[in-house]
């Protein structure tokens, strides 16, 4: 099918921080998703290296690399692995969170699509390190193509003796199960994911205990994001020091950044942590012709908005937190001046209401009220007191539920109000469609005839 999107514009800006294709280095090879293709480009060379190390040495290497979880929470990966009790007689599990569903996050799906074996190799190495002999890859259900790709990669790895019993003669045994979800954003929350995998409704558990102590089937379990695991083989192969030489001390390494929205050239850009947002935007070709940046979100819809006042902010956990937002998944969504911030926030909150699992009252009821209030702004039917009331409802949700979904629902509005208060005030008088004609924000020019 032809792509009608006007995306491939020439790049106009220079940039100081070079792109660093590491995971993506061979993504253009049409057979990279096969075992043969992956091997031809150096795949499965880290695995024998890892199996020659002690599990503790691998954990130490990953600790030294400074790798932090790429699913949004940014917890130090090696430290998480280190929390798994060793020398106990209980089974340990590795569970890969491949439930990428956060609005704006779109890096794990293309990774699994183009290069599923990098994930599989990372799974084997990680399982060996944490002494798990059973690993699960929980892929969201709405991407059957990706489910097939990952299943196929796992099957090929079994056939080649890279998964199964006595892997490469090391005496290490591992089974890997690819598990498909069935449409529930909440299952990206690690304890909800574990419940789902146990055959329960996908509702979060109270923490502590944390999964490292009591996870799948109440056994010690590491839950890691796809991108996190996929970088593990490169760290084993090239060394912790090399990986940590990129980025900053607190935000080390190389990262998959996904740029989306009103940019000339949306896509996946692999770059060092700490690259300024303006540089990423430059690589993405800048804003579409004739338009200016209005607001952007560094990583998903669960983080506060930033504006053109934050263009030069380095993409690190600490710098983005310092600017009042969160790094999240590191997948910036970028919007220009044709966009109604009221409409954007309203849709995100509808999403959270739809995805609230219903377990905790503040989230279940609070998202209902937030949707109602935001709709009033969108339709020009709000009253002046709704501005504060919406803040108040958010505060009643924040920090009052088992998991972060409710917090996420309460997050976009306060920052949107802070930077664009007048637009919410306009929402007491005029419909969003009048204020921001939707056709101007679309990326196609055709009239909807």
């Amino acid at each position: 099918m032809p792509c009608p999107h006007p995306m491939l514009q020439p790049r106009t800006r220079g940039s100081d921080v070079p792109l660093t294709p590491l995971l993506t280095a061979h993504w253009d090879q049409p057979d990279l998703h096969t075992l043969h293709g992956y091997r031809r480009h150096g795949g499965y060379t880290a695995l024998p290296q890892a199996l020659g190390m002690s599990p503790d040495a691998i954990i130490q290497t990953v600790k030294d690399s400074g790798l932090r979880g790429r699913g949004g929470a940014a917890f130090p990966t090696g430290m998480k692995w280190g929390f798994v009790p060793q020398g106990d007689d209980r089974p340990h599990y590795l569970v890969v969170n491949a439930d990428e569903s956060e609005p704006g996050a779109c890096k794990d799906i293309p990774l699994m699509m183009t290069d599923p074996h990098s994930l599989v190799e990372g799974v084997v190495i990680t399982s060996y390190a944490i002494r798990a002999r059973h690993a699960f890859i929980y892929v969201r259900g709405e991407v059957p193509f990706v489910v097939r790709r990952v299943r196929e990669a796992v099957a090929q790895a079994y056939e080649a003796g890279l998964i199964g019993t006595n892997i490469l003669g090391s005496g290490f045994d591992l089974d890997v199960v690819v598990h498909a979800g069935a449409g529930a954003y909440i299952c990206g929350e690690e304890t909800a994911l574990l419940n789902s995998l146990e055959g329960l409704r996908g509702q979060p558990r109270l923490k502590p205990p944390f999964p490292a102590v009591s996870g799948l089937y109440s056994a010690p379990t590491v839950v890691n994001n796809v991108e996190t695991i996929a970088y593990v083989p490169t760290i084993v192969e090239r060394g912790a020091e090399w990986f940590a030489s990129f980025g900053t001390e607190k935000s080390p390494g190389i990262k998959l950044f996904a740029m989306s929205g009103h940019v000339q050239r949306p896509g996946i850009y692999e770059a060092p942590m700490g690259i300024p947002f303006s540089e990423l935007l430059g690589y993405a070709g800048g804003m579409r012709e004739g338009h200016q940046l209005k607001f952007w979100l560094p990583g998903g819809s669960s983080v506060p908005l930033l504006t053109d006042a934050h263009l030069d902010i380095p993409m690190t956990y600490e710098d983005i937190a310092g600017a009042g937002s969160l790094f999240g998944t590191g997948t910036p969504m970028v919007f220009d001046e044709t966009t109604s911030v009221v409409r954007a926030v309203s849709r995100w909150i509808e999403f959270y209401k739809h995805e609230s699992c219903g377990k905790c009252t503040p989230c279940r009821e609070g998202t209902y009220w937030l949707v109602d209030l935001l709709r009033r702004f969108d339709e020009g039917q709000a009253v002046a007191s709704d501005l504060e009331k919406t803040l108040d409802v958010g505060e009643q949700i924040m920090g009052r539920s088992f998991c972060a979904l409710g917090d996420a629902a309460a997050t976009p509005y306060p920052s949107a109000l802070k930077y664009f208060r007048s637009e919410f005030e306009d929402g007491t008088r005029r419909h969003t469609d009048e204020l921001f004609p939707p056709a101007a924000a679309t990326v196609f020019t055709e009239v909807n005839a």
Binding site: P30, A105, R140, P144, E152, Y217, S245, P266, E446
Partner: protein, 223 residues
């Protein structure tokens, strides 16, 4: 529908993948739905019995996840992402156009049982907005006109190719089997590469940006 020996064997294979049988409830529901068109009371009995769960427990799972249906939908399910970014970049226009063109609204199915329309949430493809799905296979960078073309093809019985996925989008039942982990034979041999996924890599090559070598890996790292 009655369970054939084949289905029963597939169900047992699925259960055997997991350390505890109960973990198989989701793939089994995907499988029975692909056979029956929805999650039927009979299927709930069947899954409950096989896994040693109560009917209420299986029903609890089936009713929690949006992909399990209480009534059969169309053989081709058309989804339009209406989450903020896709909606703003054109998803709303695409949705309105399809509602007019197909003549049904959200969660409805045409009288001939061919097409269902669904407003869907983020598909993790924001780089490719506005995004649609046909039986959950990606149709990236859509417009109202291209969306209507998809409907035309489905109505005419012509194959629709996913932009990143199978060359021929299968009927919904085949998708259920894929999710259950049986019958994965679809032709998707090299389809997954596209200019947006490769944007960074191609730009790095164009600009001559090379990955600094490590001591351990020096030889083959030209980009």
């Amino acid at each position: 529908m009655t369970t054939t020996d084949d289905t029963r064997a597939q169900m047992r294979q699925i259960v055997a993948r997991y350390p505890q049988p109960r973990s198989a409830v989701m793939p089994l529901l995907h499988l029975t739905q692909s056979r029956d068109g929805s999650v039927t009371p009979e299927a709930i009995d069947e899954v409950a019995e096989l896994l040693g769960m109560s009917r209420a427990e299986v029903t609890g799972v089936a009713s929690f996840y949006t992909m399990y249906l209480r009534k059969p939908g169309g053989r081709f399910r058309v989804g339009v992402c209406i989450n903020s970014l896709c909606a703003i970049l054109g998803g709303d226009e695409i949705w309105e156009s399809l509602v007019d063109y197909v003549g049904i609204d959200n969660h409805q199915t045409t009288d001939d049982g061919l097409i269902s329309l669904e407003r869907i949430e983020c598909q993790a493809a924001c780089t490719h907005a506005p995004v649609m799905t046909l039986n959950w296979e990606f149709l990236d960078n859509q417009t109202p006109a291209s969306a209507r073309e998809v409907v035309d093809k489905v109505r005419a019985g012509e194959p629709v190719a996913s932009t990143r996925g199978p060359r021929v989008v299968p009927e919904i039942a085949a998708v259920g089997r894929s999710l259950a982990g049986v019958d994965d034979a679809l032709d998707d041999s090299d389809n997954g590469l596209d200019p947006l996924t490769l944007a960074g890599l191609e730009l790095a090559r164009e600009l001559g940006h090379a990955l600094p070598a490590s001591d351990a890996a020096t030889a083959d790292e030209g980009v």
